[in-house]
């Protein structure tokens, strides 16, 4: 707790947190501590990322993106979650056990008051297991899709809204092999 408070003070002094945030955080930390969770209050400094939970994809017609993902990459439409405006498309481990999903959704007509971000996600990449170059390329072709770029072991397609989606093997796309 002492280190946590010390860091908080440091952030306050450097202007990273204001007085209100400082007080609120101390109060929260005290609450956690009082609840007998003192170990967590100290030990969980920094998060342990397990994976990507989901990616939220907004487009003019979510059904076209949904069908593309199901048809091309084998994602599964979560029963009961296709609302007519969005769908949750599951893949990987089971939901609640590390599985991920893509939310395909229609653009919201409600004005977004957030200032525009200076960053964007220009593409994302799936890992395919048991990569076989000929089989993967044939499968993409058979589904009426065109490889839009990449190299053996790491390919790209454009989805129905020209969003760039990469799909790759562990050999070609692995952070530790950069």
């Amino acid at each position: 707790m002492e280190r946590f408070i010390a860091d908080l003070v440091k952030n306050f002094e450097s202007g990273k947190v204001d007085r209100r945030e400082f007080c609120k955080t101390v109060a929260l930390a005290a609450t956690v501590y009082a609840a007998g969770d003192a170990a967590n209050a100290q030990a969980t400094r920094g998060f342990k990322v397990l994976g990507v939970n989901h990616i939220s994809y907004t487009c003019p017609d979510y059904t076209r993106a949904r069908d593309f993902q199901i048809n091309v990459f084998g994602l599964e439409n979560t029963p009961g979650h296709d609302t007519g405006k969005r769908a949750n498309l599951m893949f990987g481990p089971e939901p609640g056990k590390g599985g991920s999903f893509i939310v395909t959704r229609n653009a919201d007509a409600t004005p977004n008051n957030r200032p525009p971000a200076q960053a964007y996600i220009d593409h994302y990449c799936y890992t395919l297991s048991n990569w076989d170059e000929a089989r993967v390329r044939a499968a993409i072709k058979a589904k009426g899709q065109e490889i839009s770029g990449g190299r053996d072991g790491s390919l790209h397609v454009l989805d129905p809204f020209n969003y760039d989606i990469q799909f790759a093997s562990i050999v070609e796309e692995n952070a530790f092999k950069r």
Partner: protein, 190 residues
């Protein structure tokens, strides 16, 4: 198939089966064989995404963005170049959470700056009508109040509730990032 056809033809020639029977037999055999091949080809056409390999994040200056993600999510930076760096969700040798296949690498972020001096591509990409408006990371032992306190202490801006099971925040470039635990999933979100 060839042997089967020869056998049926021989049976026809020796009068063991009628012409009609010959045709029926060969038709059935040929279509069954075709169906099997088609089914096999169909199966081969099924691709199955196992996991997100990486998310490619583009911004004006990759270094402060990478530092922000390292600070907030406790991620190492590896393989830095002049324009980009990778932030894997774990250490070398770790395996992705609950993935049994042995050929699925840890997911990672690639944070990059566009190359202002790059020549225009030979085949320019058409403009996309879609956008990734946010992404969410799953963290271990997520507790919303504790996470809010941690993020606040780290100086993270615009922290806000994302339903009962998550928080949203703005990253250093004002991009919407969500944090949640395993309980936020395809069956509970939305």
């Amino acid at each position: 198939m060839e042997g089967f056809a020869a056998q049926k033809l021989s049976e026809f020639e020796t009068g063991k089966i009628s012409r009609r029977r010959l045709i029926e037999s060969l038709t059935l055999a040929a279509t069954t064989l075709y169906s099997a091949d088609a089914a096999k080809a169909q199966a081969d056409q099924t691709l199955k995404a196992q996991l997100i390999n990486h998310i490619s994040y583009t911004c004006p200056n990759f270094k402060p963005a990478a530092d922000w993600y390292s600070m907030v999510f406790n991620l190492d930076q590896i393989g830095a170049t002049k324009r980009d760096v990778a932030l894997p969700f774990g250490k070398k040798g770790d395996e992705p959470y609950n993935v049994t296949a042995k050929d699925v690498p840890l997911s990672h972020l690639i944070i990059r700056t566009p190359d202002a001096n790059a020549p225009p591509p030979a085949r320019p990409k058409p403009a996309s009508q879609a956008v990734i408006d946010h992404f969410a990371l799953t963290v271990a032992d997520f507790n919303r109040d504790r996470a809010r306190a941690e993020l606040t202490a780290l100086g993270v801006k615009n922290i806000r509730d994302g339903g009962l099971r998550s928080l949203h925040m703005d990253d250093v470039n004002g991009y919407d990032v969500q944090i949640c635990g395993l309980e936020n999933n395809a069956l509970t979100d939305g």
